[in-house]
Symmetry: C3
Subunit: 342 residues, 3 copies
């Protein structure tokens, strides 16, 4: 089950142009394109006549024409031309989804369009603020349930095992995090004082001794996580520092596959090529280490759907996030203000 | 559900020889081979002993010997030798299917053998008449329900969108077809007067001006379509012309895959290498444009089996064809003269 | 359904070391590794915390540490360390399976550990006796139900059809086997007097005339077969001979896939490179001829699960073996001393 009334990242803004882009979101086939004035449009990617994906068609002016029999759809989903036929019945239409462009992403609302409040898009101002340099790696398609990604982001201990050669350090497990839940937010904070920096931080910061390190995550359902991370010379709050914000917005494709959108913004060394390489390439490699784990988890879950799971101390945050989301989905289903979901 | 009591194209005659050929037809595993005198034989492709496909065996004289334990089957499906055993119980036999060779194809009857009337094979005399030159391209395996192919053949408007660079023209949608249904036949006729020829017709006919074009399809269930197509210099009924008959006999492999058999016969320019290339190669490319559409439709239908479909004017003929076929299948099932089908 | 209380070959001993090895056995995910002292360990390959395969982790001392959150499991399956947590609840554990190393294989017991009697491992002493030279080819993964392999081994007639160019001969089908069933054993014996040797025997034995040949199989459920095979100069019981024991222990991976373990031991020509090549390479090719048949059978069975099968005379032994195994599985299920199986 998905939360329908929420904004999800549908695509990087650079992915959508005049050529139609097919993407499955919450199990629904969606096609994205841009109108002449650049406005993004999202329609159901299935001609209501004979089901051809509209993404196999062509954009003409502000409309999308089906590649089979030429039915032409306006940006609101209404069919406005049927070759060989003068009158067009009202039922000839496809769903049109609210979309908004913000923080370099195109956001889509799969639920009830009247509830599509732009104010519900998270305020990720680090993505296009001049004092921050934002790396925008390509989305990674991950064969796992999207909630496994939230679990991963909310848990810091895995850095010591999954990312031991990049951003991990033995010191992490020894510094237990503090977890808070407030309203629709789960916050995990971790402070590691006076320890050696992990390999990628060392490379980025060129430290000569120990550092004080922080790793604070704020997660809001259904799938928005902000990871405030960095370190500073031990004991010198104004010392040399590595400081970044990692943004994560995994969008469910199906119940077992996810479009993993993420970005890294940093407040230092904008023009340092070594640091640029870390943020555009090596951090992506770190994410790929997670992907190997996430997909293996999903394979095991698919193999034995009811397998026993035991919780441990580090799960406090991810369990809180799951409960938040489950509550929101249950409330939405009860209100019946969304179509039944997969 | 399939219509069992009907002839289907099982193979091009050139495909079947002394080496067994495996092919699934209406969901049944079939093996084809030729006897010493050249007669084609079709048997169930599953040894009744331990299920090995008989197509993994060898043809010996007029029989087929299983490649596992050597059981030997005669052309009528009876097992006539069991190595290491003197008596052969009557239940040791596989199904044998009536086959007939006509119009360069081997036709098979999957239903009740006593109903296998050779007169029910369509009269496609253009295939081996000396005044017609018949191109016989290899069968295309298409991952779609066979009825989607009938829909495609019966609809002319898609030429303007799917085949715009080959046989399509904007003029098609503007010239609505006439659809007739009589007995077990659906006929669609379309006449486009005094318009430029489409690219492949121009290449074949070297016209210097507009043409009058016709595109008439006769479809008989379960899957036989004849497309009478061509054009002539505008207003000159005896002028230079391109004239062809496209024959289509898609055979269901399963409910979502099809062996698409087709041929093109022409009554002009038998020895022109440019025209020969159009008929043997470029028309096949046109069919491959259809295949891309057909397989995408099937993917969408598989993804969401009950998805809404709205009919439009151009569907008159294909809906009539579907009703005809449904009626025949229902009648056959009610008579219970066929085994239950997939 | 599988027989749980039985020893199965999990791996060649050379396959298991300090790096974890993942292998699915009877549908269960298992990980194998060796402790410091070389003892083999088999654990459930699924962390009980968040289901990551433990085979993605690392062996530390005698334990296995999960690659996600660092949970450390001892060889008995108990979790003995949870990073960031001081107390460890008893429910944090995975299954540990009894394993034993014998005849160059690692044997595993998937059922009730208290019933894991080492005396139940078959006595295949030819595998490491100095007077026998044992070839130990890599396991072959076969996409078929394991019982199809027992059928294959217990039946000699197929040699004439599947292996006609290697170990088959027309004389086989003409010499009917004798089948005996005693307690938990099915024995098939076949004696072929005074006939030409099959190609591989001729190559190994360089015979100048006919041979007397024997092919005797002893099969014990769930899946142990010993094939005593060979030939000697016709009429000379002390003459030149080819003598071998082929051991077969196919281990079910799932209900439709099998890890096919086998070995060949011979009592002649230990140091002859031609014979060595036959036993290490060409006999494996013979097994691959079987694999092609076995996988085709399985494909056909999967395609039409209830398809009719007729038994013939050569099935006496394999039917007896199937009845033996079915009886053992039924008894085990009735005793309820095993967990419900797939």
């Amino acid at each position: 089950m998905f939360l329908q009334n929420a904004w999800y990242v549908a695509a990087w803004n650079r992915e959508v142009g005049r050529a139609p882009l097919a993407r499955t979101i919450l199990g629904e086939s969606v096609v994205l394109y841009r109108k002449h004035d650049g406005t993004a449009v999202a329609l159901e990617d299935r001609c209501c006549h004979r089901q051809l994906p509209l993404s196999m068609g062509v954009v003409i002016d502000d409309d999308l024409r089906c590649g089979y029999h030429g039915l032409r759809y306006a940006a609101d989903g209404a069919c406005i031309d049927v070759p060989g036929q003068s009158s067009i019945p009202a039922e000839l239409r496809v769903r049109s989804f609210p979309v908004l462009e913000r923080w370099n992403w195109i956001w889509i609302w799969m639920g009830d369009p009247v509830r599509a409040d732009p104010g519900l898009i998270p305020n990720w101002w680090w993505c296009d603020h001049p004092q921050w340099r934002c790396s925008q790696p390509d989305m990674i398609h991950v064969k796992c349930h999207y909630q496994l990604i939230a679990d991963n982001v909310l848990d810091g201990t895995h850095l010591a095992y999954v990312h031991s050669t990049t951003i991990g350090a033995d010191s992490i497990a020894a510094a237990p995090p503090k977890t808070e839940r407030k309203d629709h937010l789960v916050r995990v904070t971790r402070w590691i004082a006076d320890r050696p920096p992990p390999p990628l931080y060392q490379l980025a910061g060129n430290f000569t001794g120990n550092v004080d390190r922080w790793a604070n995550v704020e997660h809001a359902p259904p799938c928005y996580s902000v990871n405030f991370a960095g370190c500073v010379e031990a004991g010198k709050s104004n010392g040399k520092r590595v400081e970044l914000v990692a943004l994560s917005a995994p969008t469910p494709e199906t119940l077992s596959t996810t479009h993993y959108f993420f970005a890294f913004s940093r407040a230092f060394a904008h023009d340092d090529p070594v640091v640029e390489d870390i943020f555009t390439r090596r951090f992506v490699d770190v994410f790929r280490e997670d992907v190997a784990v996430l997909e293996a988890q999903q394979r095991m879950m698919t193999l034995k759907p009811g397998a026993r799971q035991v919780n441990i101390a580090v799960d406090v945050a991810s369990l809180a996030a799951r409960r938040l989301l489950e509550g929101m989905i249950a409330a939405e289903q009860q209100r019946r203000d969304v179509p039944p979901t997969a």
